[in-house]
């Protein structure tokens, strides 16, 4: 294999269509006779439904149908549990999943009550105002601690204390470690993570072809295969009768992996019932209520340390807001629990969490998927420990890093993929060194900061470490096929939302088959093109689907060599594949184009040997034995205005190890975007609920996504520790940028304002100018 493309900063195959306005997104699907849907949603968080009167809406000109839960009949059912709880001893898990249209009771603002289908979206929205709903409000469950009290209202009948789950995991013996500690530091930490807010909201189009008995669905999903299988089952169809296409999807970041949103259940059903295509596109206001969030956790954590700063143990007890339903199981809080351990040796760990139902939208993974919460706790504990023990912040981290000879490193607890939390490979100290060097850490603290302080400026530095479990199973597959025109077609089951799959998979395949990257056509997210797969989540596309592409391309390469050897009557070893053709080494003129060979592989007459498969084609699957653990360090220099608490990030550095790099340009983009979302989470974005469970800032004018003015220039460097768990040696990179930004901001702002010396700690995220003003009130 001549590696030419793997590792190169190749520009993307998919860009031309996107740049010219010719990429198909779900809302671009226009079909004759299409109906448009609008959903009537609850405007209170918790209420008994007394009545829903849709007669006036049904009578409106242009309205074709209006449905409530009753109309769904036996089709009405709570959704499936997507991720069962991992096999952890004594786990309590109370499954309560979302329903297509609310019946009897509503449990969060935005929960759908009825759907209107009309000749235009404008008419459908008009008709929503015709529907008369009587709701008897109940007290809303909003605050996590109050939710546990006996006196609290309950989101679900039969779930006392609103406990959705209770899980304890431990290693070693924390109590004994604590007894031998020189120092124990205990604090409460609050970490709130917001809405992923892709610029494209969700949407779905469904078309029933009665003649063919075939249902086609275009959906903004990250998991088209899983969606097809589920919706086929619900509708009583065979999987083969349903084609799900996730075309270009305008950002996902997690919530689009959630299944089955009520709209995803109702729209296909309505399309069949009415025998007309139906489109529903979420508007931005709906998106804030109808698409899943991530949200808050409250951690009561303590760290036991030796006098030299070595961690003897950590204990953490936390509450997790799971929202009104828990279809995604325990993925988010398990990630928090596991990722807290970070790149550090923590020999004794005792972690317990309680997931709580609240009258708020559902919580499912959003880029980082709970990892941020855990990283915030350990990084803050280390900052406080460094301050109390008078050890440099970078140094205390260095002293606790897992040494390079300790891999694979088993943390002895269970991860989200149900496997033991084992780090496959890593070398953490060079990452820290590189980040400190790039940010100029020593010089900043010794020279720059005193000089700037002398000028009355408040400038601080921060450094934060993290690991990220990526590339988990179960599996993905790919079909690689040489076409008669010499191009190579690759189909895989995962969906794509901007990650560059059309390019990185093409790079992998192009190297195996000796063709140009631009001559490899990738199809993702079309269940008629590739039948099997799990989906795009957990930073796993490049690892799992990428390796499947590689395996399939290797098999095709073997077929090419075998057939060409027969054609030239030579040994396979004498052949070379390059520039789209196979040639006999050292014999000028003895060459055949791959397209011509593909035609030969599919003879139209004559006989073939028994066992011959047609075409230059192979389908292969890849499933890793465990996840690959990426790691990194972020460092930042920030200036804080002590009057307004506005920030200016003067320098931002990311050093990252995600194993071997397929495309450094695309990788940089992933990191930039992750950091930008991390910055939003750290300082700008917060979903604000009042005591009635009303979301108070459900617009992009009030929920502040960072703009080009808030996101700084970033300097990025990589170290490479290949994963031993896959042949390409890659690890995932999608979420890493977003994970350590919260603790980095808290630390750097504290440092800029000298807060720890004044006994002010920033133990919560998000911060904001207003919140910093409040937290520093006692200094004024």
């Amino acid at each position: 294999m001549t590696t030419r493309n793997f590792g190169a900063p190749i520009r993307r195959n998919e860009d031309v269509r996107l740049l010219t306005g010719q990429a198909l997104f779900v809302d671009d699907v226009e079909l004759p006779g299409m109906l448009y849907a609008a959903f009537l949603r609850s405007n209170v968080a918790h209420a008994i439904i007394r009545s829903i009167d849709v007669e006036a809406a049904r009578a409106r000109d242009g309205v074709v149908a209006v449905y409530t839960a009753e109309d769904l009949g036996n089709y009405w059912a709570p959704g499936p549990l997507l991720v069962p709880p991992p096999p952890i001893k004594d786990t309590i898990f109370n499954q309560r999943t979302q329903v297509p249209l609310a019946k009897d009771k509503v449990r969060h603002v935005g929960e759908p009550l009825a759907v209107v289908l009309a000749e235009s979206r404008y008419i459908a929205e008009d008709a929503l105002a015709d529907i008369a709903v009587e709701l008897d409000p109940l007290p809303a469950v909003v605050d996590l601690e109050k939710a546990l009290a006996d006196a609290s209202a309950t989101v679900h009948d039969g779930v006392r204390g609103n406990v959705a789950a209770h899980v304890r995991q431990s290693r070693g013996n924390y109590a004994m470690a604590r007894a031998h500690a020189d120092r124990v530091i205990a604090r409460r930490f609050l970490y709130d993570h917001g809405a992923s807010s892709p610029i494209e909201t969700r949407g779905i189009v469904a078309k029933w072809d009665a003649r063919a008995n075939q249902l086609t669905i275009w959906d903004t999903t990250q998991a088209p295969v899983f969606f097809r299988n589920g919706i086929a089952g619900m509708l009583g169809l065979s999987e083969r009768q349903v084609r799900v296409i996730a075309p270009f999807v305008g950002g996902g970041f997690g919530p689009k992996i959630m299944l089955f949103y009520p709209e995803e259940v109702v729209i296909p059903w309505a399309a069949i019932k009415l025998n007309r295509p139906v489109k529903w596109i979420e508007d931005r206001l709906e998106h804030f209520f109808a698409t899943t969030h991530e949200r808050g956790q409250t951690h009561d954590a303590e760290i036991a340390l030796a006098a030299d700063g070595r961690i003897l143990g950590v204990k953490d007890v936390f509450l997790h807001d799971t929202g009104a339903y828990n279809p995604y199981g325990l993925t988010v809080p398990i990630n928090s629990q596991c990722t807290l351990l970070g790149p550090y040796v923590i020999p004794n760990y005792d972690s317990t969490f309680t997931a709580i139902f609240t009258n708020k939208p559902i919580v499912t993974p959003y880029r980082g998927a709970g990892r941020q919460h855990g990283v915030f706790v350990i990084e803050r504990l280390l900052d406080l420990a460094a301050h109390e023990l008078n050890i440099d912040r970078a140094e205390i981290r260095r002293r606790n890093l897992i040494p390079p000879d300790a891999f694979p490193y088993n943390n002895e607890i269970i991860y989200q993929d149900f496997a033991p939390l084992s780090y496959d490979s890593g070398n953490y100290e060079p990452i820290l060194d590189k980040a400190l060097e790039m940010i100029g850490y020593d010089r900043f603290l010794a020279e720059e900061q005193p000089r700037l302080r002398g000028q009355g400026r408040h400038v601080g530095v921060g450094v934060a470490c993290y690991v990220e479990g990526t590339g988990i199973g179960p599996y993905e597959g790919a079909k690689v096929q040489v076409q008669a025109n010499g191009k190579v077609n690759v189909a895989t089951g995962i969906g794509t939302q901007g990650q560059g799959h059309f390019t990185v998979f093409a790079q992998i395949v192009a190297d195996q088959l000796g063709v140009e990257v631009s001559d490899v056509d990738i199809v993702t997210g079309d269940t008629d093109q590739f039948y099997w797969g799990a989906g795009t989540f957990a930073s796993r596309g490049a690892v799992v689907a990428g390796n499947a592409c590689n395996e399939a391309a290797k098999a095709v390469r073997q077929k090419i060599l075998k057939l060409a050897a027969e054609h030239f009557e030579c040994a396979e070893e004498d052949l070379e594949i390059a520039n789209g053709e196979v040639s006999v080494v050292g014999v000028p003129g003895q060459a055949i184009k791959l397209g011509a060979l593909a035609l030969k592989a599919n003879p139209m007459r004559g006989a073939v040997r028994p066992g011959t498969e047609p075409g230059l084609e192979s389908t292969q699957y890849f499933g890793p034995s465990g996840g690959a653990t990426a790691s990194g360090v972020h460092a930042m220099i920030v200036e804080v205005d002590p009057q307004t608490f506005m920030l200016e990030v003067l320098k931002y550095v990311v050093v990252h190890d995600c194993g071997t790099v397929i495309n450094p340009l695309i990788l940089a983009g992933q990191i930039h975007g992750g950091v930008a979302q991390g910055i939003g989470n750290a300082y700008y974005e917060q979903l604000v609920f009042d005591e009635d469970g009303q979301l108070l800032n459900a617009s992009l004018a009030d929920y502040l996504l960072p703009t080009a003015l808030e996101v700084p220039h970033m300097d990025i460097a990589h170290t490479v520790t290949a994963s031993p768990l896959n042949p390409l040696g890659v690890k995932g990179a999608g979420e890493a940028g977003a994970i350590p930004v919260g603790p980095l901001f808290a630390q750097a702002i504290e440092n800029a304002l000298g807060l720890l010396d004044q006994k002010v700690e920033l133990n919560e995220i998000p911060l904001s100018p207003g919140r910093l003003f409040e937290l520093t009130a006692k200094l004024r």
């Binding site: 520009r11 010219t20 306005g21 226009e30 409106r60 000109d61 242009g62 931005r284 996101v711």
Partner: protein, 160 residues
Amino acid sequence: MSTDSHEINVTVNGTACRRTVESRLLLSDFLRHDLLLAGTHVGCEHGVCGACTVIFDGAAVRSCLMFAAQADGHAIMTVEGLAADREHLHPLQESMRDCHGLQCGYCTPGILMTMKVFLDETPSPDEAQIREALSGNLCRCTGYQHIVEAMQLAAQRLRG
């Protein structure tokens, strides 16, 4: 239902169109669903995200904040009008591709429209000016850095 309608004459990407539209029809919906120019994307419908930006008589405007009827007698350029064909991208598009200035690509048409007007008016911008000009367009994927680099490259190419 509002049934009042207007006949409008509008030039889109150099082509004159005559259509009858309802008063309340948004310009963004008119472009996307009536003219089938779906390259103009809708992200928020309240004028914040900038995805629906088009060039209206030479100015970058948000088509979700205008009615189609207001376009009567005016000239509009959408992303579909930027390149002659896929083989001949505009320097803005080429630079976005070279610098990996897009990921999911959903905000991209609005950014191209905003920055076309900006670079026409500011042919030699510095980074701060580019960031200021970009700040009305939200991108959730890229962190903006590659877009800023793309605009620097595009400015250079457009200056020739």
